[in-house]
C-alpha cells in the first residue's frame, strides 16, 4: 500500500500536479513564442523547412489530411476540467472526437495552423500543453494507470514522473538529442508500463532494508529494430533519480548516432556497446556530477507532492456488500465488474477501467459527448479524476464500490460499458494510413474487422486474455512487436499488405518480442489468419492456458502451418 503523504488540500485537483503561478507564466510565455512563430510562418518570414522543427516541438504535425496536434497527458492523469478542455477543443477546433494514444497523449487530427495558438491558450487554461510531444527530446513521461491506488504500490510514481517532467521540459542539454527519448515509471515492482521496452523504464522495489529503490531499465524500444531493454541499475535510491537518468542521457547524447536515423535511438547504442560498457560510462559520468545539486531531498519531493490533490477516501463498511448485491441482480453488470475493474488498496473502493474499444468503433477514439460524459461521471463518482492508459482505455480510479452500479449505468448510456478489457476485442491500434503520413497501410479497418469476428462476449471470455496490436507501419505505435498477436501493415507497390507476429509480451515477467509468422498477406487474409490462429489455439489449449501459453508450448510452426497451409 502506498503511504505517501500526498496533500489532501480540497482545493487541489485529485491525482495530478496542480500548477502554480510560475507554471502558468511559463506556459503563457511559450504559447506567445509559438504564436509569434506561427505569425512569422503565415507572413512568409519563415519557410516550411525553418518552421517544421518549431511546430514539432509544439506537437504540431502535418498528416495526410490536415495538421494534427498531439497533446501531452502527463503520466496519463486528467482532471475532469482538463477533459472538458479537451472536449471543447474536439468540438470547436476539430471534428468532434480525439484519439488517445499508447503514449498517454491525445491527438486531434483536423486542426488548422492559424488556430493553433488559440488551442494552446485554451489548453494552458486547463493546465495542459503540447510541449515535447514530438521532436528529438524527452517526450511525455508515462506511468501506471493504477498509480496511487494499486495494492502493490511502493511509492506514488506520479510524483517522480512530475519531477522528471519539470526537469526535462526545455532541458538545455537535451533539446536536440540524437533521437526522441521515452521514459516510463511505475511505483511497483509489477510492471504495468512495459518498462523494458522504453528508452528508460523504471520500476520500484523494496531493498533488503525495506527502503524503496528504483530498478532502471535502459535501451528498450520497438520500431524498426525492437529490443528488450537491460537493467542498468537495480538499487537506485529515489533521491538520485534525476542525476542518474541525466547521466544515462548524457552518455547517449554524446555517443548516439546522428548520422543514421535508423540507428540513432539509445537501444542501438546500448546494444552496440553492451550493457556493461554502457553502465560503466554512466557510472563514470554519475561520479563526476554534483549530487547535492541533483539530490531529490525529502523537502523537494514533499513540495511537489503537496501540489497533488488526494482523494478523501472514507470508510463505507456496506460498500462491498452492496456491490455484491448489484452483481447478483444484474448479470451484465457482473460481467463488466469481472472484466473491467481493478482492486483498490482501500477495500471500499475499486478502479473502473472504461473500454474505448466498443466493437465497430475506432480503438482509442472518444467523441466530444463521451469526453463530457466521462468528465461528469468522474466528478460524480471518482473525485473528478480520469486516467488514460497506455492501452488506449480510460480509468476512473477511486470509485466507491456501492456506487459502481450507478457509474456503470451512466457509462452504458454513452456506449462506454464494453466489458472487454484484456480480451480479444480490446485491440490496440494506431491511426494508420487513414491519418498518418508515416503509415504504409491502414490499421483501423483491420482492427475493426478482427473485433467484429469476435463480438460475442461469451466467445471472447472463452478465448480468454489475448492482446492484439495493429500497426500501420514499423514505428510500432500500437506495440505490435510485443503483443501476443501483432499485425503490421506494409506497402507493396502501393498496395496494403499485413505481416503477422506471434508471441510478443509487453511486461517484465515474460517480456518478449514476437516472431514473424510468414509472408505478408492482404487485409482480408490477415483478418482470416487471426481467426484461424484463435480457433487453432482453442483446439490445442490445455486446461487453463491463455493464448500466449499455448503458443509458447507449441512454438511457431503449427500456427504457421494453420495460416499458410494450402488447401
Amino acid at each position: 500500500m502506498n503511504n505517501n503523504p500526498i496533500s489532501s488540500n480540497p482545493s487541489l485537483a485529485v491525482g495530478r500536479y496542480n500548477y502554480d503561478q510560475v507554471d502558468h507564466d511559463f506556459l503563457k510565455e511559450r504559447i506567445n513564442q509559438f504564436r509569434s512563430q506561427i505569425e512569422r510562418r503565415l507572413s512568409g518570414e519563415l519557410s516550411e523547412d525553418e518552421f517544421k522543427p518549431l511546430r514539432l516541438m509544439n506537437g504540431v504535425y502535418l498528416q495526410l489530411h490536415s495538421y494534427m496536434l498531439r497533446v501531452a497527458i502527463p503520466y496519463g492523469i486528467l482532471s475532469s476540467t482538463m477533459l472538458r478542455g479537451l472536449a471543447y477543443i474536439s468540438q470547436y477546433y476539430d471534428r468532434g472526437y480525439g484519439h488517445f494514444t499508447t503514449r498517454q497523449n491525445i491527438q486531434f487530427h483536423w486542426v488548422k495552423l492559424e488556430e493553433m495558438p488559440d488551442i494552446l491558450t485554451h489548453l494552458a487554461s486547463v493546465e495542459m500543453h503540447a510541449l515535447q510531444t514530438s521532436g528529438n527530446c524527452i517526450r511525455n513521461i508515462t506511468s501506471d494507470e493504477f498509480a496511487g491506488l494499486a495494492e502493490d504500490e511502493i511509492i506514488d510514481p506520479r510524483v517522480y514522473a512530475e519531477i522528471m517532467r519539470q526537469w526535462s521540459t526545455l532541458h538545455p542539454e537535451f533539446t536536440f538529442l540524437p533521437r526522441k527519448f521515452k521514459i516510463a515509471i511505475s511505483g511497483s515492482s509489477n510492471d504495468r508500463v512495459a518498462a523494458c521496452f522504453y528508452d528508460i523504464g523504471i520500476l520500484t522495489r523494496l531493498n533488503d532494508d525495506q527502503k524503496p529503490v528504483f530498478e532502471v531499465w535502459v535501451g528498450g524500444g520497438l520500431g524498426r529494430i525492437p529490443y528488450k531493454g537491460k537493467i542498468i541499475r537495480d538499487d537506485l535510491p529515489p533521491e538520485h533519480l534525476i542525476a542518474y537518468i541525466e547521466a544515462i542521457i548524457r552518455v547517449y547524447n554524446l555517443h548516439g548516432s546522428r548520422n543514421n536515423l535508423y540507428k540513432s535511438r539509445i537501444k542501438i547504442l546500448v546494444e552496440n556497446l553492451g550493457i556493461d560498457a554502457y553502465r560503466e560510462q554512466v557510472e563514470k559520468e554519475f561520479a563526476t556530477m554534483d549530487l547535492d545539486q541533483y539530490r531529490l531531498s525529502d523537502d523537494l519531493v514533499v513540495q511537489i507532492q503537496e501540489r497533488f490533490g488526494r482523494p478523501n477516501l472514507e470508510n463505507h463498511p456496506q460498500a462491498s456488500e452492496v456491490l455484491e448485491a448489484h452483481r447478483a441482480q444484474d448479470k451484465e453488470f457482473d460481467r463488466w465488474v469481472k472484466n473491467n475493474t481493478h482492486p483498490h488498496f482501500h477495500n471500499d473502493y475499486i478502479a473502473a477501467v472504461i473500454s474505448l474499444k466498443e466493437v465497430g468503433k475506432t480503438p482509442g477514439d472518444a467523441s466530444t459527448e463521451q469526453m463530457h460524459a466521462l468528465a461528469d461521471l468522474a466528478d460524480q463518482y471518482a473525485f473528478g479524476e480520469v486516467r488514460v492508459t497506455h492501452l488506449q482505455n480510460v480509468v476512473l480510479g477511486h470509485v466507491q464500490k456501492d456506487k459502481l452500479y450507478e457509474l456503470w449505468q451512466g457509462l452504458k448510456k454513452q456506449q462506454l460499458a464494453t466489458a472487454n478489457l484484456g480480451l480479444i476485442t480490446d485491440i490496440v491500434c494506431c491511426p494508420g494510413m487513414d491519418y498518418c503520413a508515416l503509415a504504409n497501410a491502414r490499421s483501423i479497418p483491420v482492427a475493426k474487422q478482427i473485433a467484429a469476428l469476435f463480438e460475442d462476449i461469451e466467445l471472447q471470455e472463452k478465448i480468454g486474455p489475448v492482446n492484439i496490436g495493429v500497426d500501420g507501419c514499423i514505428n510500432s505505435c500500437a506495440h505490435h512487436h510485443i503483443m501476443n498477436i501483432g499485425v503490421l501493415g506494409v506497402d507493396k507497390k502501393g498496395e496494403e499488405f499485413y505481416q503477422i507476429k506471434l508471441g510478443g509480451s509487453s511486461y517484465k515477467e515474460g517480456a518478449a518480442i514476437g516472431s514473424i509468422l510468414g509472408a505478408a498477406v492482404k487485409a482480408e487474409e490477415a483478418v482470416k489468419a487471426v481467426e484461424k490462429l484463435i480457433y487453432f489455439y482453442l483446439e490445442q489449449r490445455q486446461s487453463n492456458e491463455h493464448f500466449i501459453d499455448t503458443y509458447r508450448r507449441l512454438g511457431t510452426a503449427p500456427f504457421k502451418e494453420i495460416v499458410y497451409a494450402t488447401a
Binding site: 503565415l42 489530411h65 490536415s66 471534428r95 494510413m433 487513414d434 483501423i444 506497402d491 502501393g494
Partner: protein
Amino acid sequence: MVTINKNAKEELKSVITANRFADGRVVWLTDQGYWSVKLEEAQVISSQSDLEFAQEQAKKDVAAQYIIDPYSVELNSNNIPLTTREQVRAFGPSTHPEFNPRSIQETIPNE
C-alpha cells in the same frame, strides 16, 4: 519541391496534389489554376510538357504560401490514384466516410 516521376510514360495520367498551407487539407491542382479539395476537379495530365507546366505553377503556389509539399500522383484508367495511400488522401479516412470530400465511398476499398 515537386516530385517528378522520371519513369512516367507520356500516356500515363497524373494529377498534382499538395496540402493546403492554412489547414493542411489535401488539394488538387485544377486546369483553372486553383486548388480544389475534390479530386474530380483536378487537371488530369497526360503529357510530360503539361506535367512540367503544372509543376512550375505548384512551385509558385508554394512560394505564395498557398500550398506545401506538392507532388504528382499517377491515376488509373478510371482517374483514381493508383496507390491506396493516395486514394485515402483523395477520399478521406475510410473509417470516416462522412469526411470524404466528394462523398463517394465505393472508390476506395472500405472495411
